[in-house]
Amino acid sequence: MADTALTIDGLSVDFEGFKAVNGVTMTVDEGELRVLLGANGAGKTTLMDLISGKTKSTSGRVFLHDTEITNWEEHKIARAGVGRKFQIPSVFKELTVRRNLEVASCRKPGVFANLRFGFGADAKRTVDQVLELIGLTEEQNQVAAYLSHGQTQWLELGLLITQNPKIILLDEPTAGMTQAETHKTSVIVNNLKGRHTIVVVEHDMAFVREIAERITVLHLGQVLAEGDVREIETNPKVREAYLGTKGIL
């Protein structure tokens, strides 16, 4: 059994009486790719917000390996090794693609440590590799605002890869993508498997089938089931709560 990379222990958040996430306990192994599934409002994105520090939890704990990171400031959690991709693609629009990645390659959090020129030879190598991986080498000198929707998503993935966190949280990385773009995204994500621990929120079952190892199903803020793709697809509780009525499987 591999080491545990992420431990979530009884995590809850209470939005004035509404428990968006209610006592979620789960562990993700080092190098694992975990898919979070669930209907709208099941608490998937909120769970990511809690892990990455965007939302402060009201009870429960989060561990990154052996370090407790519960309710730290976002940038400290990021430095501890949690990277996050947002549902709405967010990149630095007025900077070129290469500049975007160079910024992500920077390892110093504060302003004074960065009062110097250039990002260094290591950064150049990393950025070149990442450009290759996300297929934006040709576009590297374009301003990010000119990228297509799919390319913007890949660039954001590229930012995460460059940041090189231990855990990558991906919130609907294929939202709004064409089939071909979705496929390319799954290639990129598959490429990261093993090197990073990845947690993905995704609705697109075709994509889930392409990448998933283990799936955790959330329902009304709680863990409903956990297992591999087949187990989840045949789990009666899951079918009833989420999949069955619409038959999207």
Binding site: H75, V91, V111, S148
Partner: protein, 382 residues
């Protein structure tokens, strides 16, 4: 993008050469005037740094300008002849006597309750140091509070706007030590060793011109550092930067403070060339005017915003003194502003960049241009 950098720097060089050559063609009256406009240019650059690069629209930049101006003006006031002729062997500002209680001693320490604050300003260099320290400290405190609390956008503008008006009121109200509405006038000349900076001589012009050149080049270099690039990333998407692990408020506060320091420096230079400091520096209209300069010149270009400030002031001076326009010059300036906002939303700096783009791309055979056109049209298609 990198191919454009040498051209950018060439433009800086041309600008510096031009302002260095100005004394060859101008009399001392115009030289003094242009020196003031160069100070405004420095303010434009300060705005470009905070607005264009950090995304912080400061509607109260006059606060930092005024802080710098008053700090040096206090020292120069004590250096003036009249301050020495008030019947004490140490200098005392004349207005303090006009406002003094009957029987108060004619001494800086105790002529009124707060006059002791003036004591260290007997050293001119203390005034100079404070002219930078005070704006930076104010910006540091304000920035730390505002940016740690994640206040952004228009709310920052409103806070800065309110603050400059508040400080203006305080300065006017503290008449015994600030001379209220009248401000500090009848100042001595700034001195470095034996050199006295009479506002109407060439060395004073060069003091301003060299200062401006240094500020422009340093600011430009600063935004090219890693920190400057990360700052632009923060401007584009704060959250993204935060989740990449950057301490976002430290970047915003730092560059806000640098912008404040430049404004404070400009305030000091203004006092040297105009020989007064007054609460009008902290009027709302002045702070807004600075933003207009930067908008016309191009907020995303430090040099552009600087040239915008100089240009608008030269135009308003010439137009307002042209017969027939004496009444209408404000309308002319307003018209220019409207036209720029409508047709050049990125200002003159943006226009220059586009022209350079076109020039560079043509020389390369248009390959990159074709790419650009496709990417823009695909974006339009979405």
């Amino acid at each position: 993008m990198s191919s454009k950098r040498p051209i950018d720097w060439a433009l800086y060089a041309v600008f510096v050469v031009l302002i260095m050559l100005a004394p060859l063609v101008m009399d001392s009256f115009w030289l003094n005037r242009v020196a003031k406009y160069l100070v405004y240019g420095m303010l434009g650059a300060a705005i470009a740094l905070s607005w264009g690069y950090a995304g912080i629209l400061n509607l109260g930049q006059g606060l930092f300008f005024g802080a710098g101006a008053y700090m040096l003006a206090m020292s120069l006031k004590l250096a003036s002849q009249t301050s020495l002729q008030q019947g004490s062997d140490k200098p005392v500002p004349d207005f303090m006597l006009w406002n003094a209680e009957p029987g108060a001693p004619t001494e800086l320490c105790c002529i009124n309750k707060a006059s002791f604050l003036w004591l260290p300003f007997q050293s001119q260099w203390f005034g100079v140091a404070m002219g930078l320290v005070l704006p930076v400290a104010l910006a540091g405190i304000l920035g730390t509070i505002v940016f740690r609390k994640r206040i952004s956008g228009v709310f920052v503008s409103i806070i800065t706007l309110a603050l400059v008006l508040l400080v203006r009121l305080v300065v006017i109200d503290a008449q015994p030590i600030t001379n209220g509405f009248n401000g500090l006038t009848d100042l001595g000349w700034f001195k470095v060793g034996d050199l006295e900076f009479d506002p109407y001589v060439v060395p004073t012009y060069y003091l301003v011109a060299v200062s401006l050149s240094l500020v422009l080049v340093s600011a430009r270099l600063l935004v090219e550092t890693r920190a400057g690039i990360i700052l632009q990333a923060v401007r584009d998407d704060q959250n993204r930067a935060r989740y990449l692990g950057f301490d976002v408020p430290s970047y915003q506060t730092f560059f806000f403070a640098v912008s404040a320091a430049i404004a404070g420096f400009a305030g000091m230079l203004y006092v040297i060339v105009s020989e007064f400091a007054s609460p009008t520096f902290m009027d709302l209209t002045f702070s807004i005017t600075m933003v207009v300069w930067a908008a016309v010149g191009g907020r995303s270009s430090i040099l552009g915003a600087c040239i915008g400030a100089i240009l608008i002031n030269v135009i308003s001076a010439t137009v307002s003194e042209t017969e027939g326009f004496a009444e209408a010059w404000k309308a002319v300036i307003g018209l220019i502003f409207v036209l720029v906002v409508l047709y050049l939303p990125r200002g003159l700096g943006g226009l220059a960049h586009d022209l350079v783009d076109r020039f560079v791309v043509r020389k390369r055979g248009g390959g990159e241009r074709a790419l650009r056109v496709t990417s823009t049209s695909s974006q339009a298609a979405e």
